[in-house]
Amino acid sequence: MKYTTIKVIPDDKFKTATICLMLRRPLERKEATQNALLANILGTGSHKYPSLYEINKYMEELYGAVFGSLIVKKGEFQIIRLYLEFAAVMDDKLLKQAVEFLREILFNPLVKNGEFSREIFENERNMLKDSISERINNKNSYVRLKCIENMCKNEPFGIYADGYAEDLDKLDPKSLYLHYKDIIRTTPIEFVASGNIDGEKFKKLVEENFESGDLEPVNLMANPVIYNPKEPALHEEALKVNQSKICMGLRGGCSYSGKSFYEFLVFNEILGGSGNSKLFMNLREKASLCYDVFSFLYRAKSILMIQSGVETKNIDLAITKINEQLQAIKDSQISDDELHLAKQSLLAGFKSITDSQGGVLDFNYTQYILGDSDGIDNILKGISSVSIPDVVKLANLLYTDTIYILKGESDE
């Protein structure tokens, strides 16, 4: 039995159309690595397009269409996403070719004698292993990943959605193929499409190319785990770099939709969401401690991260200053101006979502998987109605769970 759901948001101000096909799985260690490798293998070839060479050639024929197969981590879901963006205005035939191509990639992988092609399997496994070890190349994202890994060590969100090197060693072309068969059998296919696209024509093409039925939405969302340590857990890792990196993870008392979500958005904006924020003004502009300091939300997990890069000798000072700003919000030291600026900046951001296909696709899909029926208009209203006491109340529920420090050790 197979289910498809389709959401199309057409807008002909765009030159291209983008189709995303999603297979959404619970984020679990036992299959995370298999899914990650599977996404890569699917994107590398099929019976009709047996190598990357053939795929790339075909994409060029489709006026430089952009195809990708990758893993997305959203809250406690691991999503295999196939996407195709093509210059729809160039040729009417492209839509049909695009849908047929995605079907081919998903249902016709290179399989011989009940297993994935050994050559492709080995190469993709090695590449994935390399890319896992390359996490350290970007220090900003590395410190964030390490902070999340430690902060959420007992929750699915702490799992790396791009897999684990040691788990890769346990896989083989046959077991992965069986896993693929299992995925195809048990995972509903979710389509989201946007841009220069005829919605009815697209739905018809999907119906023709993919089996369909009624979708019974399954709540795959794990229950949020709230820990409440007295002291934040502090982790330090030494590395030969010039600049030290700090990442702090906060959580508690907020939600990914409704009033609490709007308050969380405003709180983040005031704290470190922009060049007007308390962190930027105090750590960078006043104290001259850093070039970058910012905070952001993982909406679907309802946690907030704070990051900065400072000189090693200033690590403690920077953490003290970050805590001062958190305390200031808890103590209601927020001006009407700050509140107004935070809201203006959020409103502008939500209003321009419809100006990019990526924004449209991500917003609509996120609302769908979080079961949030709010449209952009409702969210704009919700943000506008947040008050200073609302923000203070939320701030007092939040606490710092984990601090991860990448400590620079210079050669001198």
């Binding site: 024929e61 269409a65 190469n123 220090k139 600049q243 060049g275 502008a348």
Partner: protein
């Protein structure tokens, strides 16, 4: 000059007009979008270190353009970030080798944002204290880039390719060079370069054109432009070093192979022919790339680029590989083979098709075409010239480009290896 350019293939227009003050404006209407974008681009980047002003030679410290960019955001009374946010806008800036660009995007109050942008860019507030304070921030910025292996491998390559060109220097300069910056020198370069004749206004979105012209006219009416002569050092046509190695805390070596052109005069045709040529040699649909991918020597992070400006013109191949030397050999072999066999017309047509579609894709967004135009304005051509060049390019043009792009002594391979 008042000119309306239309592109049938893109179904887009661009209005070009030079205002009485000398400021050149480029406006790309985008109906139906909420976002509106405005930018003031200054023909002044990290390569502009020496110039003649009224017959007097001025030499400035490395990183001056970038430092000035930071200070333009400061005002005695106003916090520009706040002022833009109040209007629903967000403002930012960047400095590259040849340009400093200040830009905002907003959903409402476009004309007020535009006025604010002019006020911000045409005024400079400095004190000794604020100049000193900025040094701490920029030192951390330099330090951040220094830890970035892809930044390091790129600048090491430029250092190997160029002997004298200021493109060798980091855009932000170094801790030592910015230590020399003070109020007087910042004020001098501001007065010399931040003048209408040396700048462009670039806007896109759904708004009234006449409003933009009125604001631009009013805000620049009283401004004059001094005569500046830029001085760039002589640069030999060969690369002083063919290989540069470095080590960092990374998991897999990074490489950047660059070929430098003997002449830095780039036009839209050269951009198009170089990009097509690169794809033919080792793009995603080439045999060489696929051989290296299958043997695990290249991954999908491999990229091809052509970068150009007043002091440089560089064709690049970059990525990560466990064996960069073999990749390098394969690239050289692919070039050699292609020179012998010539370009297959079918492949040429397919790659051309790809670039047409990709170029069109950039018009999906309000800001991307404007950002491209902000980069092109100092180079003397515009994005519609590029569209035309892409439509008109012939296989012979690419053959011709191949002959001068790669020579025996114009390359450098930069590798950042892992620390053991």
């Amino acid at each position: 000059m008042n000119n309306i350019l239309k592109s049938n293939i893109l179904n887009e227009t661009m209005h070009i007009k030079t205002l009485p003050s000398g400021l050149c404006s480029y406006i790309i209407p985008k109906k139906g979008f909420n976002e509106k974008f405005g930018a003031l681009a200054v023909n002044f980047g990290s390569c502009d270190l020496e110039f003649n002003l009224d017959g007097k030679k001025i030499t400035t410290p490395e990183g001056i353009a970038h430092f000035l960019e930071h200070k333009v955001f400061e005002d005695e009374k106003l916090d520009y970030f706040n002022e833009f946010t109040k209007l629903s806008g967000s403002v930012n800036a960047y400095t590259n080798f040849n340009t400093t660009v200040y830009y905002f995007s907003c959903t409402d109050n476009f004309t007020d944002c535009l006025k604010l942008l002019f006020d911000m860019v045409y005024s400079l507030y400095l004190t000794d204290e604020t100049v000193e304070k900025e040094k701490g921030i920029i030192e951390q910025e330099i330090s951040m880039y220094d830890d970035d292996p892809s930044w390091r491998v790129y600048f090491n390559m430029l250092g190997g390719l160029y002997k004298n060109s200021p493109v060798r220097n980091e855009i932000a300069g170094s801790a030592a060079s910015i230590a020399k910056i003070d109020q007087a020198i910042l004020r001098l370069v501001f007065d010399s370069f931040y003048v209408p004749k040396n700048m462009a206004l670039i806007c896109s979105g759904d708004f009234e054109l006449s409003e933009v012209y009125n604001i631009a006219q009013e805000k620049t009416a009283d401004l004059t432009s001094p005569k500046i002569e830029r001085i760039y050092p002589e640069e030999p046509s060969n690369a002083p070093k063919d290989s540069i190695k470095d080590k960092m805390h990374i998991s897999k070596p990074l490489f950047c192979l660059g070929f430098k052109d003997a002449h830095n005069r780039t036009d839209e045709k050269q951009i198009v022919t170089t990009k097509i040529l690169l794809d033919i040699i080792i793009g995603g649909s080439s045999e060489t790339y696929n051989k290296l991918y299958k043997t695990g020597l290249l991954d999908d992070g491999f990229s091809l680029d052509y970068s150009h400006g007043s002091c440089y013109s560089t064709t690049m191949f970059s990525g990560t590989s466990k064996d960069p030397d073999t990749v390098f050999e394969e690239i050289i072999n692919a070039i050699k083979t292609l020179k012998e066999t010539g370009i297959n017309p079918l492949i040429f047509e397919r790659i051309k098709k790809k670039h047409l579609g990709r170029f069109m894709q950039s018009f999906n967004s309000v800001s991307t075409p404007s950002e491209m135009q902000a980069d092109f304005f100092v180079k003397g051509f515009n994005i519609f010239d590029l569209a035309k060049a892409l439509k008109d390019v012939k296989i012979e043009d690419v053959h011709k480009r191949m002959e001068n792009c790669f020579t025996k002594d114009n390359f450098c391979i930069s590798i950042v290896d892992k620390l053991e």
